[in-house]
C-alpha cells in the first residue's frame, strides 16, 4: 500500500522520530510504512490521519 506520509511529514516539518513518538510506534515502523514495506493497522492509520487532520483515503491508497 502506498502512502504520502513522507510528504506530509515534510510539510509539517516533522522527523520520522517525532512522528513515531506522536503515534506511539518506533521510528523503524514509520520508516517501513513510508517505504511501503509494512502496512499499518486501521487504528494506527486513524492515528496518523487524525494527526495530519486528513481522511485516511487521502493518505493511504492502493498501488
Amino acid at each position: 500500500m502506498k502512502n504520502k506520509i513522507k510528504v506530509l511529514r515534510a510539510e509539517h516539518n516533522m522527523t520520522q522520530a517525532e512522528l513515531a513518538i506522536k503515534v506511539q510506534v518506533s521510528r523503524q515502523t514509520i520508516n517501513a510504512i513510508e517505504k511501503g514495506k509494512f502496512d499499518p493497522s486501521l487504528p494506527l492509520a486513524f492515528k496518523i490521519s487524525r494527526l495530519f487532520k486528513l481522511p485516511i483515503e487521502s493518505i493511504f491508497f492502493d498501488r
Binding site: 510506534v25 517501513a32 514495506k37
Partner: protein, 137 residues
C-alpha cells in the same frame, strides 16, 4: 497526549529491562538447580526439589514477562517477534524430532541432549529476528 507518548516509550524500555532480569534470574536458578546437588548440598532431595520448584516458578514469571513485553511492542515489532517465534517453534519441533530419530536409529555417535534443542531454538529465534528486522528496513 504528551504524557501517554512518553509513557509508552518508558514502559517499552522498562519491559525490556525487566525481561532481561527475569531471563538472567531463570538462567542463574537453572544453574543452581542443575549443579547445587553436586557442589553444595550433596544429594539432599528436599533442597533439590525446592530449587527445581524455584526455577520453575521463575520460568513462569519469565514467560508472563515475555508476554507482557510482546504485548507492549508496536505492531511491526510484534509481527517480527511473532514470525520469529513461529519459525523457532517449527524448527524446534521438526529439528528436535528428527534429531531424536537419528539418536534412536543410532545414526549419530552421541546422545541427543535437550540442551542442543534449546540452543537450536535460541539461535533460530535470533536469526529470524535479524532477518525479520532487515526485511522492513
Amino acid at each position: 497526549m504528551k504524557t501517554e507518548q512518553s509513557e509508552w516509550r518508558t514502559s517499552t524500555k522498562k519491559n525490556t529491562r525487566h525481561l532481561g532480569y527475569w531471563a538472567a534470574a531463570w538462567v542463574v536458578s537453572m544453574a543452581v538447580a542443575s549443579f547445587g546437588h553436586i557442589y553444595f548440598w550433596k544429594d539432599n532431595t528436599v533442597l533439590t526439589i525446592l530449587f527445581i520448584a524455584i526455577n520453575t516458578a521463575i520460568g513462569v514469571g519469565m514467560i508472563l514477562m515475555n508476554r507482557k513485553y510482546n504485548n507492549n511492542l508496536d505492531e511491526m515489532q510484534r509481527k517480527v517477534s511473532m514470525d520469529a517465534m513461529a519459525v523457532a517453534l517449527g524448527v524446534g519441533i521438526v529439528g528436535g524430532l528428527s534429531y531424536s530419530l537419528l539418536d534412536q536409529a543410532n545414526v549419530i555417535a552421541f546422545h541427543a541432549d535437550i540442551s542442543h534443542l534449546v540452543m537450536l531454538i535460541g539461535l533460530t529465534y535470533i536469526i529470524a529476528i535479524f532477518v525479520g528486522t532487515n526485511r522492513y528496513k
